[in-house]
């Protein structure tokens, strides 16, 4: 049981917020609630948070903005809640910095599983030992540090985990399914857009020219690989 894990839940519907809080507290987590985006940002600044759960549809500043604001100052895992899976909302939310998403109505069990996967991944990056080098790219898994041309670049936990996963077998092609399973803990039917958007985000940080990636390369129809 992850005692001491603090979750910030941003949801404007009071009944949903309360029910989700009850369910998450049953998992042994501490839940802080926020009704609006503004309240969420204030709470986030006031106290340390391990996972943020954001409903995209919020009055005032919306979930995307909350997501972006948090991302500017923190690499905390963010799960967003969307109304539908097939809209642009999912991609927009992931691009705003979310690590994973759920569609309403979701089972709290599913939410707990997602949160656990995010927490596991954030911690697992703290172990490991090797010092990896890909051209101008330098990865030190045990320190959670990535440098390009000697300069440290800032990655979210999920981006870092994705990069380390690709770096574990340089040159090997990883399918989206494999990456979904290893990084997010999803099975065969996970949403491939999670991988695509995270690869895109990763490229803007580790590539000199994200439009013509040298390190994180797409292998059409098969997946992605990391090269020097």
């Amino acid at each position: 049981m992850s005692v001491g894990t603090r979750i910030l839940s941003v949801e404007d519907d009071e009944r949903i917020r309360t029910a989700v809080k009850l369910a998450l507290e049953d998992e042994g987590w501490a839940v802080e609630e926020a009704e609006t985006g503004e309240a969420a940002l204030a709470t986030f600044q006031r106290q340390p948070t391990d996972v943020v759960l954001i409903d995209i549809m919020l009055p005032g500043i919306d979930g995307f903005d909350v997501c972006r604001s948090i991302r500017r100052v923190s690499d905390v895992p963010i799960v967003m809640v969307t109304a539908r899976a097939d809209t642009h909302d999912v991609v927009a939310g992931l691009e705003a910095g979310a690590d994973d998403y759920l569609t309403k109505p979701f089972a709290p069990k599913e939410l707990s599983a997602r949160i656990r996967a995010l927490l596991r991944r954030a911690r697992s990056s703290e172990s490991g030992s090797t010092h990896l080098r890909f051209g101008d790219l330098e990865i030190i898994p045990d320190e959670g540090v990535v440098r390009r041309g000697g300069e440290e670049i800032h990655l979210t936990k999920t981006e870092f985990r994705l990069l380390v996963e690709l770096a574990s077998s340089p040159g090997r092609v990883f399918s989206r399914e494999t990456l979904l399973e290893r990084v997010w803990g999803y099975g065969y039917f996970g949403d491939g857009r999670l991988v695509d958007v995270h690869v895109r985000r990763l490229r803007t940080k580790v590539e000199a020219d994200a439009a013509n990636p040298r390190h994180v390369v797409t292998v059409r129809g098969l997946g992605y690989k990391l090269q020097a």
């Binding site: 989700v20 009850l22 369910a23 097939d86 979701f106 089972a107 709290p108 039917f189 491939g192 059409r220």
Partner: protein, 475 residues
């Protein structure tokens, strides 16, 4: 009248265009026939009158000439050429006209084949009785005109037999020309009718095309406004109807979508609350536990129903987007089967299908397979076998069950919404509202494939649901 009724009974079977064409052709035929008939009749009468009057005038003239040359009973010194044969030969007659002379009791003819025997007896007797006469008659297949004038002064009579064969020839060539003209007019009438009907029907065809487009889902189709006042009304009414229809359909789709969306929030609260209760299940009294179990089971059904309704409303609103990617079909089917059923269903995969790729929305296709397995569990005593095989450029995914099978009359209807087939409807214990198969049909249609139900291949009773998807070459 009976004939007309017969025609009107026959005509409706033909298209409007054919009927207009026929009407124009028949009209042209009737009109040209009347005109030709009148022309022919008048011409004939005219020519005959001309012939008759000229023949009559000449006959009188020749009779007078003959009267002067023939010796009368009182004439003592006979005139120079008093022989009737000579007189006959000297009379001026046009070709085709044969003079005959009766003097005393003897007959004289210039041409031996046109003699007193040729003359109709009625005419001959009348003239010999002292009355001039004129008669048309047939002789050896040709029409002849006979004119006779008595020459009282010398007890003689003069006749002319005029052949009307030439006239008949003229009339015949005129009638051939008129017939040809009538024929051409009829054809021209038919052509004009065809063209006119085409012009008249063109706007109708435009409206027909628009109606077809609307029926196939292009609800925003409209008919172009027409300058023609008569057609403008039709086009306007059609467009009004199309607008009303589109609004109505969109309103229905929006309503379904809104309702389902609004249901999400309370469902979310219910699902989360029930889960909290489930965590306390062991501490509950038996009765509370039984009630909780009922809630857990029905909240799942409820969630599935809302999910299905949302999916359906997306189809109706035309906003369904597939997340298409190239997937290995064998892997997808295996994963979908493992993912969606607790029972161990054997999956037979054709050996040559290894690595065959389809363009599909993985999660939706998985839902489709799950729905078929679910359907087999609810109505078919459970799925017995899933088969995956190649059929030319397509792959077929078949789900077989052990149930009573689907009667042929239901084979199409079970894919309609809220339809569970006539036999399923009698089983009250089955949960499910009948959206599963209609979603299967809609998804597969959007994937460019087909779905149908048939009997099992091995001859056992049971249904076999087949999905056919276009296959792509392996990458």
């Amino acid at each position: 009248m009976r004939r007309l009724r017969l025609i009107s009974r026959l005509l409706p079977r033909l298209g409007l265009r054919a009927r207009i064409t026929i009407a124009f052709a028949v009209g042209a035929l009737l009109m040209s026939a009347v005109l030709a008939g009148a022309t022919l009749g008048l011409t004939r009468q005219n020519l005959l009158d001309q012939r008759e009057s000229s023949a009559t005038a000449r006959t009188y003239q020749n009779a007078r000439t003959a009267a002067l040359q023939l010796p009368g009973p009182s004439d003592d010194p006979a005139p120079a050429s008093s022989d009737p044969t000579d007189v006959l030969a000297s009379l001026p007659t046009p070709s085709g006209s044969n003079p005959v002379l009766h003097v005393g009791d003897r007959w004289f003819a210039r041409a031996p084949e046109y003699g007193q025997d040729t003359l109709p007896p009625g005419l001959r007797d009348t003239v010999l009785d002292g009355q001039p006469a004129l008669m048309r008659f047939d002789h050896e297949g040709a029409t002849q005109l006979a004119v006779g004038v008595p020459i009282d002064s010398i007890d003689a009579a003069y006749f002319e037999i005029v052949s009307l064969g030439e006239l008949e020839d003229t009339l015949e060539s005129i009638s051939i020309s008129l017939l040809a003209a009538a024929l051409i007019t009829t054809l021209a009438g038919a052509a004009v009718g065809w063209w006119a009907s085409r012009r008249v029907l063109r706007p109708l065809r435009g409206i027909g095309d628009a109606a077809h487009a609307i029926a196939t889902g292009h609800l925003d189709t409209r008919v172009e406004a027409s300058d023609d006042a008569d057609l403008a009304t039709l086009a306007d009414s059609f467009n009004e109807m199309a607008v009303a229809l589109e609004e109505r359909i969109q309103r229905d789709a929006r309503f379904a979508s809104n309702v389902s969306h609004e249901l999400r929030s309370p469902l979310m609260t219910l699902a989360a609350s029930i889960e909290v209760l489930e965590n306390q299940r062991d501490d509950m009294p038996d009765r509370a536990r039984a009630a909780l179990d009922l809630m857990v089971a029905d909240i799942e059904r409820f969630q599935q129903l809302v999910e299905d309704l949302l999916e359906i409303s997306r189809f109706d609103a035309g906003v369904m987007h597939l997340d298409l990617e190239e997937v290995r079909v064998d892997e997808l089917v295996l994963q979908a089967v493992t993912n969606s059923t607790d029972v161990d269903v054997p999956v037979d995969i054709d050996a040559d299908l290894a690595g065959v790729v389809v363009r599909a929305d993985k999660r939706r296709l998985s839902r489709v397979i799950a729905n078929l397995l679910d359907n087999a569990a609810k109505y078919g005593e459970g799925a017995t076998r899933v088969e995956l095989r190649r059929r030319g450029n397509a792959v077929q995914i078949a789900v077989e069950d052990d149930g009573p099978g689907v009667p042929p009359e239901d084979a199409e209807a079970i894919f309609f919404r809220f339809n569970r087939g006539s036999s399923a409807g009698r089983r009250r214990d089955i949960d499910g509202v009948g959206l599963g198969l209609s979603l299967v049909a809609e998804h597969i249609r959007l994937h460019g494939g087909a779905v149908w139900v048939e009997g099992r291949c091995d001859g056992e009773t049971g249904a076999r649901f087949v999905i056919e998807l276009p296959a792509e070459a392996a990458p």
